[in-house]
Symmetry: C2
Subunit: 124 residues, 2 copies
């Protein structure tokens, strides 16, 4: 896969409206008019977003002249996912480190509570 | 997570140099000069890319005045991965469909070969 392909995919995903369009297509293909409904945006503005998604291969459009339904194409998302996957051990490590830190902190608190408790007992 | 956070992450990833910088940081933290080595780019150009990555939270930089090493921060990649993960069933379905198609095609070929074979036998 060429790096430019990944660039096009990530650039297409770097917009909340385009991500929302993909999310709407999860439930099946849709006309542009129906896709545009939830957005406070003109049809030409939505069409522009659809063109970016289409160029990135993230959607495909039917060939019917009157009604060119859009549908999700997940291939580029798989490629993006494969790329990100290489970094999984890094975020898993960070969560492990956070977990270790929280565990140590909790131990510290318990130790302090125990100490304070025995101090109180000594005072009584 | 705010949609803008995801937008910043994907926009930062939508560049081959920035992705290559992240890939270099997999082997550990690095100075800007060392990071810049494989790229045919000026240090200021690399610094600009590093700023984009830093703003997206994909790298962090040390506080040493002389040597501010960059290191990978994978948190935003986890969030991007979680978002893409929602679409997994779509690409898995497409691969299943491709597999079905290839299996059907192979069956068709085998059937044709058998038919051609029996025709030949009849001719002999």
């Amino acid at each position: 896969m060429s790096p430019d392909h990944l660039t096009t995919t990530f650039a297409a995903l770097a917009d909340p409206t385009r991500r929302a369009i993909l999310a709407r297509l999860v439930s099946g293909e849709s006309s542009v008019t129906r896709l545009a409904e939830p957005f406070e945006m003109s049809l030409p503005a939505i069409s522009k977003h659809l063109k970016v998604l289409e160029r990135a291969g993230l959607i495909a459009r039917g060939r019917e002249a009157q009604w060119r339904p859009c549908r999700l194409e997940a291939g580029p998302l798989k490629e993006a996912s494969d790329w990100i996957e290489h970094y999984r051990r890094f975020w898993e490590q960070s969560f492990d480190r956070l977990e270790d830190y929280l565990r140590e902190m909790q131990k510290g608190v318990q130790k302090k509570e125990k100490k304070d408790g025995s101090k109180k007992q000594r005072r009584h």
